[in-house]
C-alpha cells in the first residue's frame, strides 16, 4: 500500500467544562491512503464527527486537541496556525456537511460561492473560474448547469443542494474529503444517488475520503476500510468486508447484528442492551464493558488498545495473545 | 425548605453567580439601593419633607468634603436647604415603587394576554398580536407621554396631582406589556404542543386550568428575564417622564424630579444637586441591568 495520505496518531480531544474536562476523543489512531475510502461508523456521540472536525481544524471551541497528532502527506497539520491551515482547507482537504439546507449561504448564488472557492485556491481569473464552476455543476449532475449557476440555494431541492455542496467541496481538487453524514438529511430515494456520485467522483479524481455515517448500508457499499467508534475511541478497524461479515469486537458484532439482512427473514433483529455512556461517565476499563456479553474481569479494569485480531484490529481483551496463552 | 435552599445553592444559577464578580457587585449595589430606599424614613439623616426642619440658610451647601460643606449634609443641600442624600433616598423610594409597580402591571397584563393569544390562537391571537405590532412600532416613552397627556387633559389639575403616581405607573406599564405578551406567546406556542399539555387536554382538564397550572409555570423563565431587564427600563422611563415634568407630582419627587430641579443650578456651579441623584439613578439601573443580563445568560447557556 502507498504511504498514507492522512495519519491520525493517538488523537485526544478535550472539552473543558465547568464540571471538569470531558474527553470527547481518546487515543484515536487510523490512516487513510491516497484514493482510499475509510468509513467511520458508530452511534451518535461516539466521536465520528468530532474526528472529522479535528482533521479539518475546525473543532468548536472550547474543544481542543490535547494530545496526539494529525499528519497530512507526512506533515503535521494539527499544530498549524489558523492561516496556514486555512490554505489547506478546501485546497487539500475538502469537507461535506450533513444538512445541505443549512450549509449554503442563502444570500449568495451557488455560482458566486463556487467562484470564490475556486479563485481562493487556484490561480485562475474569475471568468475561467466561472467556466470551471459550470463544469463542476455539470459533473455533480445539476441539469442545465449554465443557467442554474446564477440561482440561489433556496431554488434547489435538498438533493440538488447536496450536489452543489459536493461540487463546492471538490472544486479546488483536494486530495482528501471529510464527508460528515453526507446523506443523513436527504430523502432515502436520493441518498443512494448522492453516495454513488461521491463514490464515482472520488474514484475518478483519485480523492481519498473519510466517510462518517451511522448507516452501515452506505459503508458496505462505499468504503474500502471501516473504523467502528465507541465512546470516543476506535473499537475496531479493518477492511470493510471483514468488519461487516466477520466482526471481531463484540460491539461491532452487535452493531452488525442490528442491520436487517436483505437475503433472509429474521424474527427479531439482534440488539445491544443499554446505551452508550455519556462522555462524563465513561466506565473504567473498556468503555463497552457494561454492555458486553463477553465481559470478564480484565475488561473492567484496564482499557484495551487496538490489538491484532486476525483480519481486523480490535480494542478488545479477547484478542490479547497473552491472555489467550494464559 | 432547607432542601429547597440546598437545591438553590447546588444549582447552575448559583454556580454562575459565584463565578461572576460583576454580577455579585451588581447584586450588592442593587441591594444597597433597595434597602436604602425601603428604609429611607428610618435611616435617612433628615426628612426632606418635614418643612419645619428646613432652614433656608442651609441652602446650596456643597458636599461635606468641600471646604464650605457641613458635616451633617454629606452630599450637600439643594436650593431649599434640603439634604441631598436624604432626598435621594426618598426619591429612590418613589423611583423603585413606580418601576416595580409598572413592571408588575406590564407583566400581569402581558403574561395573561400572551398566554391567551398563544394557547387559544386564531382570531384572539391575530388581534392581540396586531395590537402588539402597532404598539411596538412606537417607542414606549411616547406611548407613556401620550397616556399621561390625555389623562392630564381629561382631569382637572388637582385631581390629576392626586392620582399622578398611578397615572405614571399605568402609562409605563401599558407601554411595555407587548414585550411580555410576545415572549409568553412564543413559549406558549411551543409548550402547547408538548405531550404533557396534550395529555392534560385528553383527560379533560379545563382550558383555563391547563393554561394556568400547566403552561404558565413552564414559560416563566423567559418572563423573569424580560421582567428584570424591564425593571431597569421602567425606572428609566419614570425618571425621563419626571425629568420632562410630566411624571410623578412635585410633592413626591423621584430621582428624575430631583435631577430636573437640580438641572437649573448646573450653570451656577451647584452641580451636586443634580449629579448625585443622577449617580444614584445610574447605580440603580446599571446594577439591575447587569443582573438581568446575567440572568439571561445563566438561563440560556447556549447564548454565551
Amino acid at each position: 500500500m502507498a504511504a498514507p495520505l492522512l495519519q491520525v496518531r493517538n488523537l485526544r480531544v478535550e472539552f473543558p467544562t465547568r464540571r471538569g474536562t470531558l474527553v470527547a476523543l481518546d487515543d484515536v489512531s487510523f490512516d487513510i491512503s491516497p484514493g482510499e475510502v475509510l468509513g467511520v461508523v458508530g452511534e451518535s456521540g461516539a466521536g465520528k464527527s468530532m474526528t472529522g472536525a479535528a482533521i479539518i481544524g475546525l473543532l468548536e471551541p472550547p474543544g481542543r486537541i490535547a494530545r496526539g497528532e494529525i499528519l497530512f502527506d507526512g506533515k503535521r497539520i494539527d499544530n498549524l496556525r489558523y492561516e496556514q491551515m486555512r490554505r489547506l482547507r478546501g485546497k487539500e482537504i475538502g469537507a461535506i456537511f450533513q444538512d445541505p439546507l443549512t450549509t449554503l449561504n442563502p444570500l449568495y448564488t451557488v455560482g458566486r460561492q463556487l467562484v470564490e472557492t475556486i479563485t481562493t485556491h487556484l490561480p485562475v481569473n474569475p471568468a475561467e473560474a466561472r467556466k470551471r464552476a459550470i463544469g463542476w455543476l455539470e459533473m455533480v449532475g445539476i441539469p442545465a448547469a449554465a443557467q442554474r449557476i446564477d440561482s440561489y440555494p433556496h431554488e434547489f431541492s435538498g438533493g440538488m443542494r447536496q450536489r452543489v455542496v459536493i461540487a463546492l467541496a471538490l472544486c479546488a481538487e483536494p486530495r482528501l474529503i471529510v464527508a460528515d453524514e453526507p446523506t443523513t438529511a436527504l430523502d432515502v430515494s436520493i441518498q443512494a444517488q448522492v453516495i454513488a456520485l461521491l463514490k464515482t467522483l472520488a474514484r475518478e479524481k483519485g480523492t481519498a475520503m473519510m466517510l462518517v455515517t451511522h448507516d452501515m448500508g452506505v459503508i458496505a457499499e462505499t468504503a474500502d476500510r471501516v473504523a467502528v467508534m465507541y465512546a470516543g475511541r476506535v473499537a475496531e478497524i479493518g477492511p470493510v468486508r471483514e468488519v461487516v461479515k466477520h466482526a471481531n469486537h463484540p460491539y461491532s458484532v452487535g452493531l452488525m447484528g442490528s442491520i436487517p439482512p436483505l437475503d433472509r427473514r429474521v424474527e427479531r433483529l439482534a440488539q445491544i442492551d443499554g446505551s452508550m455512556p455519556r462522555l462524563s461517565a465513561i466506565p473504567q476499563g473498556c468503555a463497552y464493558n457494561p454492555r458486553c456479553p463477553q465481559v470478564f474481569d480484565k475488561c473492567r479494569q484496564l482499557r484495551p488498545d487496538l490489538i491484532d485480531a486476525g483480519t481486523t484490529r480490535a480494542a478488545c481483551w479477547l484478542y490479547d495473545t497473552e491472555m489467550a496463552r494464559g | 425548605m432547607s432542601a429547597a435552599v440546598q437545591r438553590f445553592f447546588g444549582s447552575d444559577l448559583w454556580w454562575s453567580f459565584t463565578r461572576s464578580p460583576i454580577t455579585m457587585v451588581s447584586a450588592i449595589v442593587a441591594a444597597i439601593c433597595i434597602l436604602g430606599a425601603l428604609f429611607a424614613p428610618v435611616i435617612a439623616p433628615h426628612n426632606p419633607f418635614d418643612l419645619a426642619s428646613l432652614n433656608l440658610s442651609d441652602a446650596f451647601k456643597p458636599p461635606a468634603w468641600h471646604e464650605d460643606g457641613a458635616r451633617e449634609y454629606a452630599l450637600g443641600t439643594d436650593d431649599q436647604g434640603r439634604d441631598v442624600l436624604s432626598a435621594i433616598m426618598y426619591g429612590a423610594r418613589v423611583s423603585l415603587l413606580v418601576g416595580l409597580s409598572a413592571t408588575a402591571f406590564a407583566t400581569l397584563l402581558g403574561v395573561s394576554l400572551g398566554l391567551l393569544a398563544g394557547y387559544l390562537g386564531g382570531a384572539v391571537d391575530g388581534l392581540l398580536m396586531r395590537i402588539c405590532d402597532v404598539q411596538l412600532t412606537f417607542p414606549s416613552i411616547l406611548v407613556a407621554l401620550l397616556v399621561d397627556g390625555v389623562v392630564r387633559a381629561a382631569l382637572p389639575r388637582e385631581a390629576h396631582d392626586q392620582i399622578a403616581l398611578f397615572v405614571v405607573i399605568f402609562a409605563i406599564g401599558i407601554s411595555e406589556w407587548p414585550k411580555f405578551a410576545r415572549t409568553v406567546r412564543g413559549s406558549t406556542l411551543v409548550e402547547r404542543n408538548k405531550e404533557y399539555v396534550q395529555a392534560a387536554r385528553v383527560i379533560g382538564v379545563p382550558r383555563l386550568r391547563i393554561m394556568v397550572s400547566h403552561v404558565l409555570p413552564n414559560v416563566l423563565g423567559p418572563v423573569l428575564v424580560v421582567a428584570t431587564l424591564n425593571l431597569g427600563l421602567a425606572i428609566l422611563a419614570e425618571a425621563t417622564l419626571s425629568f420632562l415634568g410630566v411624571g410623578v407630582p412635585p410633592t413626591q419627587p423621584s430621582l428624575g424630579t430631583l435631577i430636573r430641579i437640580g438641572n437649573d443650578f448646573l450653570f451656577s456651579g451647584e452641580w451636586w444637586i443634580t449629579i448625585f441623584p443622577g449617580v444614584a439613578l445610574i447605580a440603580m439601573v446599571l446594577s439591575v441591568n447587569l443582573l438581568g443580563d446575567w440572568l439571561r445568560d445563566a438561563l440560556n447557556p447556549k447564548l454565551r
Binding site: R87, T103 | P139, R152, V246, G256, N263, I282
Partner: protein
C-alpha cells in the same frame, strides 16, 4: 416588486387609520375645546356658533371623516396654547428635529455597526470587553443624564460648546438649517451625541448578537471548511446575513430617535418638534398632540416601508415567493 410595494402600502393604511382614530378621539373627547377656546366670558350664542363652526354638532363618523381629510392635507386646526395653526408650528420646528435626528442616526450607524462587528468577531479581546462595558453603561444611562453630563463637562467646565439652542441658522426656502454656520454645527454636536449614544449602544449590541448567531451557522462553518480567507467569511458571508435582522431593528430605532428627540430637545432647549410636543403635553394642547402623533405614525409607517424594501434587496428568498424548503 410593484405588487410588493402596493401590498405594503395597503397594510399601512389600517395602521394609519387606527392612529387617526386615537388622535381624533383625543381631539374630540378629551377636555373641552370649546371652553378652552372661548376663555372666561362668552354668551350661549357665541358658544353655539363655535360648536357649529367646529362641526361638533355633527355625528361622530362625519367628524372623523372631516378630521381625516383635513389631516391628509396637513390641517390640524389651531393650537390651544399658541392660537396658531398647528401645521405652521410643526413645519417651523421640523427642520431642527430632522437635522438633529439625522446626525444622531448617522453617528449611531457609522460607529455602532463597526463596533458591533468587532465585538462579535473578537469577543474575548480587551477592546471588546471595553466596548461591551461601555454599551451597558450606555443603555443604563438615561438620555437626559447623558445630556446633563455632557453639558456639565463641555459647556460649563470647558466652555467649548454651547449648551442650548441651535446657534445661527440659515434659511433655505422654508427650511432653516444649522449645517451652514460654524455656530450651528457646534450647537449640533452635544445634542447629536446625546440622542445618538443610546441608539449607538443598542445597534452595537444587536449587531454583535446577530454576528455571534450567524458565526455559529453551518454555512459559516462550511465557508471556513472551504478555506475562504477570514475577511471573506466575516465580511462577505457573516456580515451580510446579519444585515437582515439588523435592518429591521435599526429601522425601528431611527423612528425611535425622532421620538426620543423629545428628551434631548428638552435638555438642550432645542427648538424642534419634540420641545413643542412636551410643552403641549404639559398644557394639554390636544391639537398639537394629535398632529404630532399622526406625524410620528407617518414617519414610522414610511420607515417600515423602506425597511421592507431593503429586506427585499438583501434577501433573495423573498424575491421569488416562497422557495422550496428553505429554512
Amino acid at each position: 416588486m410593484f405588487a410588493f410595494v402596493i401590498n405594503r402600502i395597503l397594510q399601512a393604511i389600517p395602521v394609519m387609520l387606527t392612529v387617526a382614530l386615537i388622535s381624533f378621539a383625543m381631539f374630540a373627547y378629551v377636555g373641552d375645546p370649546v371652553a378652552i377656546m372661548l376663555g372666561q366670558d362668552f354668551t350661549e350664542a357665541q358658544r353655539d356658533a363655535l360648536v357649529r363652526d367646529l362641526g361638533l354638532d355633527q355625528p361622530f363618523w362625519v367628524q372623523f371623516w372631516e378630521f381625516v381629510t383635513n389631516a391628509a392635507q396637513g390641517q390640524f386646526g389651531l393650537s390651544y396654547r399658541l392660537s396658531r395653526p398647528v401645521a405652521e408650528l410643526i413645519s417651523e420646528r421640523a427642520p431642527a428635529t430632522l437635522e438633529l435626528a439625522f446626525c444622531a442616526a448617522a453617528l449611531a450607524l457609522v460607529v455602532g455597526v463597526p463596533m458591533g462587528v468587532y465585538t462579535g468577531l473578537y469577543r474575548h479581546s480587551w477592546l471588546s470587553r471595553f466596548f461591551l462595558t461601555f454599551s451597558l453603561i450606555g443603555v443604563s444611562l438615561p438620555t437626559f443624564l447623558i445630556g446633563i453630563l455632557l453639558i456639565l463637562f463641555f459647556a460649563v467646565q470647558l466652555g467649548w460648546l454651547p449648551s442650548f439652542g441651535r446657534g445661527d441658522t440659515v434659511q433655505l426656502g422654508w427650511w432653516s438649517t444649522g449645517f451652514l454656520t460654524w455656530s450651528g454645527v457646534k450647537a449640533l454636536i452635544l445634542p447629536a451625541i446625546t440622542l445618538g449614544l443610546f441608539q449607538l449602544t443598542l445597534i452595537m449590541r444587536l449587531v454583535r448578537a446577530e454576528m455571534l448567531e450567524v458565526l455559529r451557522t453551518d454555512y459559516i462553518k462550511f465557508a471556513r471548511a472551504r478555506g475562504l480567507p477570514n475577511r471573506a467569511v466575516h465580511f462577505g458571508h457573516a456580515l451580510k446575513n446579519t444585515m437582515v435582522p439588523v435592518i429591521t431593528i435599526v429601522g425601528l430605532q431611527l423612528g425611535a430617535i425622532i421620538a426620543f428627540a423629545i428628551v434631548t430637545e428638552t435638555v438642550f432647549q432645542w427648538p424642534g418638534m419634540g420641545l413643542l410636543f412636551i410643552q403641549s403635553v404639559g398644557a394639554a394642547d390636544i391639537p398639537v398632540m394629535s398632529a404630532y402623533l399622526m406625524l410620528i405614525a407617518l414617519v414610522f409607517v414610511s420607515i417600515n416601508l423602506i425597511v421592507d424594501l431593503l429586506y427585499y434587496a438583501v434577501d433573495p428568498r423573498l424575491r421569488i415567493g416562497r422557495g422550496q424548503g428553505g429554512h
